[in-house]
Symmetry: C2
Subunit: 328 residues, 2 copies
DNA sequence: GCGTGGCGTGAAATCGATTTCACCGGCGCT
DNA sequence: AGCGCCGGTGAAATCGATTTCACGCCACGC
C-alpha cells in the first residue's frame, strides 16, 4: 500500500502538495499532473485510518436496525445504502436484535470509530441515545419515534391502522381483530389505536380488548396470536396484522385451518414481498420502507453537510391496496 | 471524548502504562487500579482511528453480498454477524447488487480501512479479488466459488438440484422443468446440472433444453420463466426453482393461473421463510444459510488469528423437506 | 521604488494509540 | 561483593494523512 510520502517523492513534491491535489486546494497544473501520474502508477489509495484520525470523522454511517431478517428493514437498508454509496459513504449495518444492550454496544462503536452519523430504528422506547446525541454527531430516527429532539422519519402508523380497519369494515366485516407488536414499541401502539378508533366508531358494542393482541413483530408472534383468536368462543371474521411478519404468521395459520384469505378478511400493515399468495386476496397497506431509508439518509447527509435547522420529522403515508377478491 | 493522555494524567501515570493496562501486559496492581478508575470516571473509550492507524488493522470485517433484499443472504448475514459480534468485531454489510464494479469499490474500501477480513458472495464469475488477496488479508468466499485459492463455504448445489428433481420424479412427475439463475453464476449452473443428470437418467427421451430456463435469481425472473414454461405447446407438469426468489415468482404465477402447488409439482432450492402457503404443499430443499455464514465467519477468524493451513472449502448439504401433500 | 496582497510550496505539528528502547531498582546467584 | 536478569515504567518514535505556519516570489497600486 503506497503512502502519500511515496507518491510525494516519486512526483518530486512534498506530501502536503499531494494532499492538496486530492483535496482540491490550489496547486500548479504541472505539479498536480505529476502527482496524479505518480499516484496512479503506485495505485495510491489514501489510508483511511490516518485520514479518520486527523479529521476526527470517517466516511461511514451506522444503520442500526432491530431485525436484519425482516424484509421491511432490509428494504429500508437498501434505500439508505443507495443514498450513502452515491455520496461516497459506506454503511455499517448493525443488527440490534431488539436488544437495548446490543444496540448500546453498536452506538459506542459508532462513536469510537468517529462515524459521521447514525440512522437508527430503536430497539424499544428505552433506547439510550444520550452518548451519541451528546457528541453532536447527527442521528436520524427511523420507523420509531424517540424521546430525543432529533430528526426522524416515521410511517403514518395510526392512519395505517385505521385504513386497514376501514377496508375490512367496508367489505362487510364486523368482528375485526388486531394483532400488533410489543406494547413498548410506539409503532405497535399507534397502529392499534387507529384500528381501535375506527372500530369503536363503527361498532361501539364490540369488546375490543378481547380482539386485540400484542405480540412480537415476528412470524411466530403472528401465528400464536392468530391461534388464540381462532380459539375464542366467538372468533373474529377478519384480522388486521400489525406488520408484515405478523401477517405472514397469521395467514399461515389461517391457511392451515382451511381459512385461506378470501374466506376471512385479512389486512396487513406492510408489504409481503415474498408471499406466494395471489396478491389480490389480502388487503395490504404498503409502507414505503425504501423511501423511508432514502429520506432518512438524505436528512442525515444534510446534517453532515452542516445543516443547523431545527430537527424535523417526516411522516410517510402507506398506500392502501385493497384485496380485489371480495372478502367472504 | 477522553483520550489516553487524559486518563494517564488523571491516574498519575504515563500513556504507555494506560495502554498496557488495556492490552494486558505487566503493570503493577496499584497503577492498574488507578488507571481503571480514571478510565471509568472519564468514560474513556479508545479512539479506534488512532488504534487502527497504529495497528494497521481494524476490528471490522466486510461482508459483500449481491442482494441485500434476498432473505437467503440476510439469513447468512445474521450468522456472520452473530459470530463477529461475539468476537468483538463489527460487520460492514456491502450490497454489490450483483455489479462487479460496485463490488470492486467496496473491496477497495475494505483495504483502505484496513479491515481485518472479507467474506464475499461474488457478484459473478468475473469478480476481481486480486487486490484484496494480494494484501494478504483473509478472504472467505461464500455461496459461490471463485477462481482464487482461498477458503470457501458453499452449498452442495449439484446435489440440491438432483434431490429436488428426484422428489418430483418419485411423486410421479415426468416433464419436470428447471428455472435457474444466470448462466455466469456457478451455483445456478451446478444446480441445473443436478436436475439434468437425474432427468436424463430417468427420461432420456425428454427435450431438456426446452424445459430449462436460465433467468435471474429474483422474483421477476421466476415469474417470467414460469410464464414461458406454461406457454409451451406441452407445458411441464412440475418445476424445480433454482433459488428461493425464483420459487416465489413461479408459485405466484401458478397461483394466478389456478395451478396452486399441490396441483402441479413444485420443488424449491432454498427456504421460503415468508411464504404464506401451507408449508406442506411445496417441496423445499432447505439450504443452511445461517450455518454458511457461521462457518465462513469462523474460518475467517481462524485466519485472522494466524491460521496458516492451506485453504479449505466447506460444503454444506441441503435438507430435503418433501411436500407432504401428494402432488397431483 | 516600495509596500501590500496573494499564490504556491514545504517543513513541521497534529490527531491518539501502541510499542520500542532505555533506565531503574531489586533480587538471586556465584 | 559483584554481576546479571527481570519486572515495571516513562520518553519518544511511529502509523499516514491533513493543515497551519512561514517563506519566497510575483504582480499590482500608489
Amino acid at each position: 500500500m503506497a503512502t502519500i510520502y511515496d507518491v510525494a517523492s516519486r512526483a518530486g513534491v512534498s506530501p502536503a502538495t499531494v494532499s492538496r491535489v486530492f483535496n482540491g486546494t490550489s496547486v500548479s497544473q504541472e505539479k498536480a499532473d505529476a502527482v496524479r501520474r505518480a499516484a496512479s502508477e503506485l495505485a495510491f489509495t489514501p489510508n483511511r485510518a490516518a485520514r479518520n484520525l486527523r479529521l476526527q470523522s470517517s466516511e461511514v454511517i451506522a444503520l442500526v436496525i432491530p431485525d436484519i431478517e425482516n424484509p421491511y428493514f432490509t428494504e429500508m437498508a437498501r434505500g439508505v445504502e443507495d443514498v450513502a454509496s452515491e455520496a461516497g459513504y459506506s454503511v455499517v449495518l448493525c443488527n440490534s436484535d431488539s436488544q437495548v444492550d446490543k444496540e448500546a454496544a453498536y452506538l459506542r462503536i459508532a462513536m469510537a470509530e468517529h462515524m459521521s452519523g447514525v440512522i437508527i430504528a430503536t430497539a424499544d422506547g428505552t433506547s439510550d441515545l444520550d452518548g451519541i446525541v451528546a457528541t453532536g454527531r447527527p442521528v436520524v430516527a427511523v420507523d420509531r419515534a424517540t424521546a430525543y429532539d432529533i430528526d426522524g422519519v416515521v410511517m403514518a402508523n395510526r392512519e395505517a391502522g385505521s385504513s386497514a380497519a376501514k377496508v375490512l369494515l367496508d367489505a362487510g366485516h364486523r368482528r375485526i381483530a388486531y394483532i400488533g407488536g410489543p406494547e413498548h414499541i410506539d409503532t405497535a401502539v399507534e397502529r392499534a389505536a387507529g384500528w381501535r378508533a375506527v372500530l369503536t366508531a363503527a361498532h361501539p358494542d364490540l369488546d375490543l380488548d378481547e380482539l386485540e393482541r400484542f405480540s412480537t413483530f415476528r412470524v411466530d408472534g403472528g401465528r400464536d396470536a392468530m391461534q388464540e383468536l381462532l380459539a375464542l368462543p366467538e372468533p373474529p371474521d377478519a384480522v388486521v396484522a400489525g406488520n408484515n411478519l405478523i401477517g405472514v404468521g397469521a395467514i399461515q395459520v389461517l391457511s392451515e385451518q382451511g381459512l385461506t384469505p378470501p374466506r376471512i378478511g385479512v389486512a396487513v400493515i406492510g408489504s409481503l414481498p415474498f408471499t406466494t399468495l395471489s396478491p389480490t386476496a389480502v388487503t395490504v397497506v404498503r409502507l414505503p420502507a425504501r423511501q423511508m431509508g432514502v429520506s432518512a439518509a438524505r436528512m442525515l447527509f444534510e446534517r453532515i453537510g452542516g445543516d443547523r435547522r431545527p430537527p424535523r420529522t417526516v411522516v410517510l403515508s402507506g398506500e392502501v391496496l385493497p384485496a380485489r377478491v371480495a372478502h367472504r
